[in-house]
Structure formats: C-alpha cells, structure tokens
C-alpha cells in the first residue's frame, strides 16, 4: 500500500484489511495515527478481529489495537445501558421511540456498529409529541444544554431537533429529532414516511430503527448535507458497511432509488455511492449507478475536488494545500443547504459576532 496524500493508507486499510499483516512498523505508525484522527481506531481493530487477522499484526501496533477494542467494548455496554434507560423513561407516557445512526447500528448488531464510537444517542419522535418527550426525559434526569435565548430559538424554530440533552449524573447525551433535516432546509424528507416504515428491534419491545433503505439514506444525507466533516470517513465507512450488509438482499437495491426520490434524497445518495466506491470500493449494482442522478458534469468536477479532500481524516499526512479551503467551502455549503440565504446570513452573523460575547464554547 503506497502512501498518497489524497488516497491515504487508512482508506486502503478499510478497503482491504487482508493486506495489513504485511504492513511494516513505519506503516503501522502512520496508519494508527490516521485512524486515530478519523475516530476509526477501534473500527480498524474490530475489522481485523472479525477476519481473524489480529494475531498476525506486529506487536506494538497490535497492542494499540487492543487498547482501542477495550474502548469499543465499554462503549457498546454503555450505549445498550443508556438505550434501556431512555426506553424506560419514554415507555410510561407511551411515547414511540426510533433510534437513529450509531445507536441504531448498536442495538441491531449491524456491522457498522463494530468498533464505532460516538458521543450521543440520536432518537426520532413525532414533532407533535416533542414536548412530552422532552418532559419525560427531563423527569428521568436529562437536561437541556443550550440556555442562550438565541440558541433556544435556533433549535426550536428552525432545526429538526431539540437542543442536545445531557444526563445530570451520567453525562450521556441525547439528540431528540423530529425530522432528519432542519425545517429551514430546501430538501424536506417527510418524517412521517420514515416513521411509518420503521422496523421493530428484535428482543427490545417498543424500540424501532429506520428501515434499511431509510437508514442508508439518513446516513447519506447526514454526511453530504452537513458542514462538519470531522468524522466524515467514519460516516462514509458506515454507509459502505450498511450497503455491503443490506445489499445482499436484491430487494434492497430495487427499493433504494425509488425511496430516495420519494424522500427527495437522491443527490446525497448519489454522493454516497460515488465516494463509497471511490474510497472504499463499495459494491453498487450497475443499474443503480446508472440511474441515480448527480449534479451536472461541471459541478461534479468541483464537488469531487471538495469531497475528495474533506472526506479524508483531518491529519497532517492526509490531504493537500487545498484541503482547508475545501473544508471551509463545504462548511458554507452545509449551512447553505440548511437555511435560506438571508436567514443563514443572519445566523452566521449572530454566531460570529453576538454569541461569543455572551456564551462561548456551547455555540450551536
């Protein structure tokens, strides 16, 4: 595996872990640092473990992977425990609960959960029951985090989620969503469609996760419509593993594109399939690849230039001199997609000049 700044060691390692036992010490040194920066160290460890390759990894690198596996094990325990308590808190008032993203992968035991570390649990509830949900969580010890009046308004009027809630004693975080994109965004996937198709989690009564196609589409829209790319490669690898897993079922591929169109999420799906294939070799049936609509050829050249940089780990060994610019432009694009221009200008002005005077670290 040669080292190319725009095709880092880590992407190759996720794509073909079978080649890793041949990596030398200097190679491991770099790979583990890239994986650490991308929040994928435990994922890499679990990937090698699943393939029975851990014993063939050089001593010191193997030990670092072991350290990360301990974290992953504890993380999984912690998430299952928190989910149980959230479920308990919402069960009595009879509130429906759909888990999203990381927590959904963990409770359903999907490959995307193996080694995945995340800091909050995302849930989806009907908008009309948001108040009840918030109250029930508060009774169980979770409290809102953003107390600034502007932030409260930002979340409650414009966003698709409540201000993040943190448990007073255990400090665990929950994001309560009523939709998967902000109310102010141009794309408006109907959350009622997502809720109607949600599937129960076996062995955990009352708990649901999104249907396979919706899970993939949510993951794609989250990655390609947001402005934050800190965990971008991890999120792309999530999609890759979801597609590899669900893609074994032919019906999945038949349903995916029509569903994306119905939910107005064809563009993010296009990017997910394109960059999944480019970085990780995600297998996509030719029929789907040919059908899914992307941007115009000119725009695609630009987006390639941006995403090929922003999807890389934020590490000194990855990317080139255009990477910071790419991240900045995508940050602007992410906000652009979330809000109409005037509102966005107002919001960015407030965040840049007014919020820092009052609060500081808790800015949205």
């Amino acid at each position: 595996m040669k080292h190319d700044r725009l095709a880092p060691l880590l992407a190759g390692a996720l794509r073909v872990p079978e080649e890793l036992p041949a990596l030398d010490e200097a190679g491991w040194d770099l790979l583990l640092r890239q994986a650490g920066a991308a929040n994928l160290l435990a994922t890499l460890a679990c990937l090698l473990e699943e393939r029975g390759l851990l014993d063939r990894i050089a001593g010191p690198a193997r030990e670092q992977l072991d350290w990360a596996r301990v974290l992953a094990r504890r993380h999984r325990q912690g998430v299952l425990w928190e989910v149980r308590l959230i479920r308990q808190a919402l069960a009595e008032p009879g509130l429906p609960l759909i888990l999203l993203k990381g927590a959904a992968y963990t409770v359903t035991g999907l490959p995307s959960a193996h080694g995945r570390l995340y800091s909050d649990i995302d849930v989806l509830v009907p908008e009309e029951r948001l108040g009840e949900t918030e109250a029930a969580l508060m009774l169980a010890g979770w409290a809102g985090t953003h107390h600034d009046a502007y932030d409260q308004r930002y979340y409650r009027e414009w966003m698709h989620e409540l201000p993040p809630m943190r448990h007073l004693r255990r400090l665990s975080m929950i994001d309560v969503h009523h939709a998967i994109l902000p109310k102010t965004a141009a794309m408006r996937p109907d959350p009622a469609l997502l809720r109607a198709a949600a599937v129960p989690v076996p062995g955990m009564p009352g708990l649901h996760v999104l249907a396979p196609v919706d899970m993939v589409l949510h993951s794609a829209v989250h990655l390609f419509s947001d402005g934050e790319f800190n965990n971008a490669l991890r999120d792309l690898f999530d999609i890759h593993r979801l597609l590899c897993h669900f893609g074994n079922d032919r019906r999945f591929w038949v349903e995916l594109l029509p569903r994306a169109r119905r939910l107005e999420l064809e563009r993010p799906l296009f990017y997910a399939l394109r960059y999944g294939a480019m970085f990780l070799g995600t297998p996509v049936p030719e029929a789907v690849r040919a059908e899914v609509a992307g941007p115009s050829p000119g725009l695609l050249v630009l987006m390639d230039g941006l995403f090929r940089r922003a999807l890389l780990p934020d590490h000194a060994s990855c990317g080139d001199r255009f990477s910071p610019l790419a991240r900045f432009l995508l940050y602007l694009r992410g906000n652009w997609l979330r809000m109409p221009p005037l509102l966005l200008a107002r919001h960015l002005f407030h965040k840049a000049f007014l919020s820092p005077r009052k609060s500081g670290p808790e800015a949205a």
Binding site: E25, A26, W28, D29, R33, G36, A37, A58, P60, A61, E63, Q64, D66, W67, V70, L71, R73, R74, Q77, H315, A316
Partner: protein
C-alpha cells in the same frame, strides 16, 4: 543499544528540534519533538539511561511555542498529541513538567491492557508495594526516599500498571515528581540525587523531577508481584502508625484511585480482586522518613 546519553546536549537539542527522538520508557515509545531548550535540558539530565528506538511510536508528542502575539509578552508552551492540542498552553518555563504530565496522560488515557492506578509502586525481592494516594499525601516523597536510600526498585512514581492477563505489575520507571517542600526534603535526604531545576507557579505549586535510579531503568521489563498496598499520609512530627485494612476497604480505595476501572468493566474488577487477594493493605501515617523506611523493610511477606 543506543541511549539518550550517547547524544551530547547539543546533538540532543538538534534531534529534538528536527526529526525528534523515539524515547523508550518501559514498554511505551514516544516520538518526542521540541525546539524548546528547557525540554532538551530535562531530557538530557533525567533520561540519559533510556534507550532510543526507531520505527514505531505509541505516542507522538510535540512541545511547541504557540504562534500567538502573546509569545512576545508571556511566552507559552503547547503540548500537541499527533498535531492536536489537547490542553491549554502553559507558561514556557513549564515545558519540561508539561512533557512529564503529557506522557502520564498518554499512558493513563490509552493503555487499556493494564488496570492503571494513580499510585507509586516500588519493589524489593520480587514483591511490590503500591502507594496510592491523592495529591499532597506524601506519596512521591516516600517513593523517592524508598528508591533513593531504602534499596527499593522504582517501578513508577505515578502510574501503577497492573497487567490484566497475569496480575503482574509492569514497570514504567520515569522521573519522580516532587512538589514544594518535598524538593528540599529529598535533596537533603538522598545525597547525590539528580534533580531538574525547580519550576515555580505551576498548578501543583513548585515542581522538580528526580532522575530514576539507573538500575530501575535497566530493569524496566522485569515485572513484580503485588504484595502490599500502603496508603501513606505524611504528618509533620507524627509517630509512625500502620493500621492493617480489611480487603473490601483496600479494594474500594484502590478502585477510586484507578484511571480506567469502569472502562475495563468486569475485566478490571477481576484484576483488582486478584491484586487485593494477594496483598495486605495498610493505612500508614509517618512523620520521619527513616522510620517509614524501617517500616517498609519490616513488611511481612504475604502468601
């Protein structure tokens, strides 16, 4: 084996400012880079016996001066973990202590194949005494006296590493960190001890680091069997008392001093139970170092 001492101070400074050194402490290798003179001074003075290793590093640390306007008024030092700043900058004068604290943080927050107790640990005759303690209880002073004059081997002054697979204590011999009055106490009590320049006004007060005995550094792969857990408390002028502790209490107190007890879950619990079953715990009060050393030599063997 090439050691830090094979480099002159000037060569070391150049290496640190350029490609860095792969410094091996116990079983961890740190790629350390820094253009700051105070860091090179500290490494040159205290790490001469440590091997330099090539290739793989567990931790990548840079100590740099942040490029802010402040640097002209109040120069500062930042610790970067693989290029990322993990802590607030400190005054430049604290660069070497910051390296020591940073390396402790690397080990205690990452090395999860060990149960890590915030405790000093010393060994004699293959048996180890663990000295856990909150800051200010005289743990490091006692540790420095035990290894400086008591004939004990230093496993670690800060981080007791309990191997999860076999319950053995793994050494991490590094400089002993002394604070405030302890600096003068050890300078007088252990003649010939090599000590870094005292740095004032840190969050811990005035700190200085004592070089680990060469023999302890040379034996950095030799594990030890836990035998005693001594919770020390220094009280000026106090008569010596050593009150044996029930196992359950020893367990609870040790668990409270662990960095990764809850992270390790059942594995950590089992390891700590094993340690407590093999050891005798004491609540230990001392006022005079000579008496304390005599007590440690009288510790009864535990079967």
């Amino acid at each position: 084996m090439i050691t830090v001492a094979s480099l002159t101070r000037a060569q070391l400074g150049e290496r640190l400012a350029g490609p860095g050194i792969h410094l091996r402490t116990g079983r961890f290798t740190t790629l350390l880079r820094s253009p700051i003179g105070g860091v090179a001074d500290g490494i040159h003075l205290l790490y001469g016996d440590y091997p330099l290793h090539e290739g793989f590093a567990d931790f990548h640390l840079d100590l740099v001066r942040p490029a802010t306007l402040r640097r002209w008024l109040r120069p500062q030092v930042s610790l970067l973990y693989d290029g990322r700043s993990m802590f607030k900058p400190l005054p430049l004068d604290q660069a070497f202590p910051m390296f020591e604290w940073g390396l402790n943080w690397c080990v205690s927050s990452r090395a999860n194949r060990y149960l890590i107790v915030h405790a000093a640990v010393v060994e004699k005759g293959g048996r180890a005494a663990i000295l856990p303690a909150p800051p200010g209880s005289g743990k490091s002073t006692l540790c420095a006296a035990l290894v400086g004059r008591g004939g004990w081997r230093l496993l670690s002054d800060e981080l007791t590493l309990l191997r999860l697979d076999d319950g053995m204590l793994h050494p991490l011999p590094r400089p002993i960190s002394l604070k405030n009055a302890s600096i003068g106490v050890i300078r007088d009590y252990v003649p010939g001890s090599v000590m870094s320049r005292a740095v004032t006004d840190t969050v811990k007060g005035t700190v200085a680091h004592v070089r680990a005995p060469a023999d302890s550094v040379a034996r950095a792969v030799e594990t030890a069997l836990p035998a005693w857990v001594v919770f020390p408390r220094f009280e000026a002028g106090a008569a010596i008392t050593a009150e044996p502790m029930p196992r359950a209490e020893t367990f609870m107190q040790l668990a409270q001093n662990c960095f990764n007890y809850s992270l390790l879950g059942a594995e950590g619990f089992t390891a700590l139970v094993g340690l407590v079953e093999r050891s005798q715990g004491y609540r230990f009060r001392y006022g005079v170092l000579d008496e304390a050393l005599a007590f440690f030599d009288s510790l009864p063997a535990v079967s």
